[in-house]
Symmetry: C2
Subunit: 255 residues, 2 copies
């Protein structure tokens, strides 16, 4: 008689997980209505909802009032934060300035853009630690939302110590690109970066700014830039949604 020891929720969840991983349900396919599933499995609708909530949080399903539930599909853009080829100068028409983001995205057949919002702020703890300043000290910030074909793909906030930012183009609004590199122009050429990456769930704010669905984690990418003297001159915190990006590093195996 081999009784199924799992509970009803797991039984329904496993059923649809198997349907998806076996390919019987493909990306974009719509699931039956909750009530039909409940009837088929002889459970209440609440039980079905809990089962499907599990799969939604695993990133397997979409949700949405009135729309039904679909098997989720992903298409991923490559983001290569460790490669520097002065992309901003490649393929430029005279008088046209393309920044690295725009060029990077264009290379993959899509159209990138940025919304920039400069200003001052109190340094968050992560930033203060890395810049070696007091927590909550005033710093210059450039908050960017990076878009692809008009939809947000990343949040990227750059933090600069006050003394470095003062009187420079760092605080200029809009999507400025300085040929040769902004930090170099400002007298603090960066010779080394330290990148720290961690997967976590988005905050409520991040989720709404990036339009993230339930079950979408992000990579928090913290880049600290150092100049020749070894001083930390900039921290960039980038929030990279897992359903839109693969992050690529090329590593040479010099042992």
């Amino acid at each position: 008689m081999a009784v199924d020891s799992r509970n009803l929720i797991e039984r329904v969840a496993d059923h649809y997980r198997a349907e998806i991983s076996s390919g019987r349900l493909k990306s974009g396919d719509t699931l039956p209505p909750e009530q039909d599933i409940a009837d088929q499995h002889e459970v209440s609708r609440g039980t079905v909802r809990q089962a499907l909530a599990i799969l939604t949080n695993e990133g397997l399903l979409t949700s949405g009032r009135g729309r039904g539930r679909q098997v989720r599909s992903y298409d991923l853009l490559v983001w290569e934060p460790g490669t520097f080829e002065h992309k901003d100068q490649r393929g430029d028409q005279p008088g046209t300035h393309r920044d690295a983001w725009r060029a990077d995205v264009a290379e993959q057949g899509r159209e990138g853009s940025q919304e920039v919002e400069p200003g001052f702020a109190q340094a968050p703890d992560v930033v203060a630690e890395r810049l070696g300043i007091e927590p909550k000290a005033a710093v210059a910030v450039r908050r960017r939302v990076r878009l692809v074909d008009g939809t947000p793909y990343q949040l990227a906030d750059s933090y600069y110590p006050r003394d470095i930012a003062e009187g420079t183009p760092i605080l200029e609004p809009g999507d400025v690109t300085i040929p040769g590199g902004l930090m170099t122009a400002v007298g603090h050429e960066q010779v080394r970066y330290r990148d720290e990456l961690r997967a976590r769930m988005p905050t409520k704010d991040e989720a709404s700014r990036l339009n993230l669905m339930a079950g979408t984690p992000v990579t928090q990418h913290v880049r600290t830039g150092f100049d020749k003297e070894g001083r930390a001159v900039r921290v960039i915190i980038t929030i990279v949604p897992g359903d839109r990006h693969v992050i690529v590093y090329d590593v040479s195996a010099t042992s």
Copy 2:
């Protein structure tokens, strides 16, 4: 009268989110029982459970029958896949072999170990693509579970083309370390790696093997190693839980 437009679930969720972010509830603190919260907010227990489920999936709370709910705390180990200092030879007692993982973890005051399980398998699509072989072709695999103080911290599966693995120590069981590097010993010294990282939710299997709580995403780290001739000779897929690891890359800004 400013009516609160949010629904009851969001109201309760926001309340406890604020308690946590403001520090009124600190890491490890226990929340009131569901029934008390329901009474205080004059909602049903089901509503409270949905609110707290949201916070759990955001990684803010623990759950657990009989235990109550606590504010979740994180302590993170640094993992630096892009640095090669022959750590396996540093600080060694004669006759003691320490692999890179063990040394890496020891440096941070903890004790690392590995469980290795070699064998053959059909190449998953990701692996086949990167090794340039047919999908489902036979490949050699070394499946590793990497532990810290006895608890699993990473899953790392290495895939080798058959012709490279045949008759080599690659297929030897146990935690072997080859001084100078296994791939070099086998005649395929790697000169370059390509690392691809992506945040996603764990599969059910990964979650149970790594003992992950709800609301814990992972980074899927895919490393492809190339030899002097530019041939892809190894693919390592590492599953890195977001609640246990920060991944670090040092990048030199040679433009």
